[in-house]
């Protein structure tokens, strides 16, 4: 029965794709806590994952699961009362956790760029598009000659599908979709190998969202840039990502290729997530879920999902299920699959 399940999973996605050749990002045992008067909230509980070159990885989960905190930690932007307790974040083979502020300035925007949530609302309202992009280039590469900046900005605008005249416009003269594309242009200005996009289309209408998503795909294909796409719209994720990492209460519970996760989610939480997506193609009865996340200050011993899990059994309440590989590219943190994981390590 175990072999049958493995065979079925393998038929959905070819293994060789996921033998890690060249990770651009390697996160190992990352821990982030937030201090509160009544104890530390464990926002990120020792997570590990890799992102390959030229890959878009989705990072999904409910609000409060730790996905934005993870992004902030990778960028070393965690502010007090948050703090990084430990772990490694290797960007292009350099662990950035111990770096000094000036060393970080070298990394940011050159190796690692961010499109933050609500980015389009944080464009400077009194600067033209040209000046804003030029600003971001000069902040990280101050000695770039003006002529090169001009050429670069022309290239960037064309890459994101904005007309050349957009460079002379102010943010309020742009639509939501256009503003977001300016933010994408700013993120790729120095050609970083890795971009983190936090809900890049959340405030946009459906049609505009499609246009911006198209732009993201275009950019990825032409520059071969890797991306982490944070979001909760599972429909949008399916259109864009190669693999998805699912987070719950500060832990990664599953990492799976997109083709597999939508058809055969393994972790009970992922199953819940997938089944609760409303469809525009099929009218089906609503899937209900129950229960709440536990208090993040006092996680119960064992699995963090035990209170809500329909498949919970005794082992779940005692032993913490670690993220383990079921096949190359597919990892799950759940005792239901302990046997599959053992099979893999043989």
């Amino acid at each position: 029965m175990i072999t049958a399940q493995l065979e079925m999973l393998k038929s959905l996605e070819t293994e060789s794709r996921w033998k890690f050749v060249d990770p651009i990002l390697e996160v190992k045992d990352l821990r982030v806590h937030y201090a509160t008067p009544s104890g530390d909230v464990i926002a990120v509980n020792g997570i590990s994952f890799k992102v390959n070159k030229g890959e878009i990885m989705g990072l999904v989960g409910e609000s409060g699961c730790g996905k934005t905190t993870t992004a902030m930690a990778i960028l070393r932007l965690v502010q007090p009362p948050g703090r990084i307790l430990g772990g490694e974040v290797r960007v292009d083979n350099v662990d950035i956790i111990p770096l000094t502020p000036s060393e970080l300035r070298n990394i940011r925007w050159r190796k690692l760029a961010l499109i933050p949530q609500g980015a389009m609302n944080s464009l400077n309202p009194i600067m033209q598009v040209y000046d804003q992009i030029a600003d971001s280039i000069k902040a990280h590469e101050p000695r770039t000659p003006e002529k090169i900046i001009k050429e670069r900005i022309a290239d960037l605008l064309s890459l994101v599908g904005l007309p050349a005249r957009a460079s002379k416009l102010y943010p309020h003269e742009l639509s939501g979709g256009m503003k977001q594309r300016v933010c994408i242009a700013m993120a790729i200005a120095l050609n970083p190998p890795l971009i983190i996009a936090d809900e890049p289309t959340s405030a946009l209408d459906v049609v505009v969202q499609r246009l911006v998503a198209q732009t993201i795909l275009d950019v990825k294909q032409r520059l071969n840039v890797s991306m982490i796409l944070i979001g909760h719209d599972m429909g949008l994720q399916a259109q864009l990502v190669d693999r998805i990492a699912v987070m719950y209460a500060g832990n990664i519970v599953e990492i799976s290729p997109a083709r597999i996760i939508y058809k055969e989610p393994l972790h009970p939480y992922t199953k819940l997530l997938i089944s609760s997506i409303p469809s525009i193609k099929v009218r089906k009865p609503l899937q209900l879920t129950s229960g709440l996340t536990h208090d993040l200050r006092n996680p119960p011993p064992g699995c963090v999902f035990q209170e809500r899990c329909p498949n919970v059994f005794e082992r779940c309440r005692k032993e913490f299920p670690f993220l383990g590989e079921v096949m190359p590219g597919l990892e799950v943190a759940c005792h239901l699959y302990d046997d599959l994981k053992m099979q893999q390590s043989i």
Binding site: E62, S63, G161, S175, G177, M178, D205, V206, V207, V208, Q209, R210, L211, A213, Q214, H232, D233, M234, G235, L236, Q237, A238, Q239, A258, R259, Y262, L272, L273, I274, S276, I277, P278, S279, I280, K281, R283, K284, L286, Q287, L288, T289, L292, T293
Partner: protein, 330 residues
């Protein structure tokens, strides 16, 4: 003679904004000639769908009496809400309730959440004594799957978005409304908790005969729970009818584009074709403009520039109507 529960006749709302010292105020037509009838029975969930700028929020505000219309009427049980007597108005306020998008800002953060129920019960004198009040509130909470002892003594920030929103629905339910206007009730709630709230709306319709006006931009959830749907674009209805008909068989080019652009959660089912940039450009029309969608339409014809908004053409005898010259009867 029996009146519809809610009837809106040719509602138009025009906002004037801008204008320099030298004049030239700009007019924005938020809503134009909108009409709808919601019958007292059977209880239904009517969806008003549209993107931002479509006029759906203006419509909700007009129905709830927050803004006045430029022209047209909102009639509740036959009476114009802007001309109601004090008693009629009180009844209206009780029978037409609202649930809003943001489940946090509706609470006063200084009070425990039980405060919202107390205010409702006291204002409308719903209970004779403490015990009655407690029972009333407990029943309302049970309908939404919550228990008083778990939530009433908490402060808003101690509850999840889904719980806060459910409490707001419970508060509306407490007043025994005939109609609940729900303006994007799930868009700020986590995806895995949305079904729960939508399910509550369905049960309130079926078990308690409460009708809903579900206002949203999310066609997927509209598809799951709506009976009838009206889709707005720049203040005008472009298509309406039975939800399943409209979403499974959209006729208006705008609706076809919209439905085609909803991302399907299946990596083997990507968007059909690459969208051209013209799909995004948009100009806002004025009262005498022709079809608002002309600039973005891939099926436009000369007649679409004729100077009147498209009338709604009926599709083969059903209540499915489209505001597009493609469907002009020959």
């Amino acid at each position: 003679m029996s009146y519809p529960l809610l009837e809106i006749k040719n509602a138009t709302k025009i906002y004037s904004r801008g204008g320099t010292f030298f004049g030239s105020k700009k007019q924005v037509i938020a809503l134009q000639n909108f009409s709808i009838k919601i019958e007292p029975e059977p209880a239904t969930i009517t969806t008003i769908a549209g993107e931002s700028g479509s006029g759906k929020t203006t419509l909700a505000s007009a129905i709830l009496g927050f803004v006045g219309l430029t022209s047209g009427q909102v009639l509740y049980k036959g009476s114009d809400i802007s001309l109601m007597s004090k008693q009629q108005h009180l009844d209206y306020r009780r029978e037409v309730q609202a649930v809003f998008q943001d489940p946090y800002e509706v609470y006063n953060p200084f009070y425990r959440v039980k405060h919202v129920f107390e205010v409702a019960v006291n204002n409308f004198k719903l209970a004779k004594n403490r015990n009655d009040k407690r029972e009333l509130i407990e029943n309302a909470l049970n309908v939404v799957g919550l228990r008083g002892k778990e939530v009433l003594e908490k402060y808003p920030h101690q509850l999840s978005g889904g719980q806060r929103q459910r409490m707001m629905i419970a508060r509306a339910f407490l007043l025994k409304p005939r109609l609940i206007v729900a303006d994007e009730p799930v868009s700020m709630v986590d995806v895995s908790l949305r079904s729960m709230i939508l399910d509550i709306m369905l049960r309130m319709r079926d078990d308690f005969k409460i009708s809903f006006l579900y206002i949203t931009h999310d066609l997927s959830t509209a598809y799951q729970i709506g009976d009838q749907i009206h889709i707005l674009y720049q203040g005008l209805v472009v298509e309406r009818g039975k939800t399943t008909n409209v979403i499974e068989n959209p006729k208006h080019p705008y609706i076809q584009l919209l439905i085609d652009s909803v991302p399907v959660p299946d990596p083997d089912h990507i968007w059909n074709e690459k969208l051209e940039l013209s799909a995004e450009e948009e100009t806002r029309g004025d009262m005498n403009s022709a079809c608002r969608f002309y600039a973005r339409c891939n099926k436009k014809q000369d007649c679409c520039l004729v100077k009147h908004p498209p009338i709604l053409y009926k599709m083969d005898g059903s209540d499915h109507e489209v505001g597009c010259h493609l469907y002009k009867p020959l």
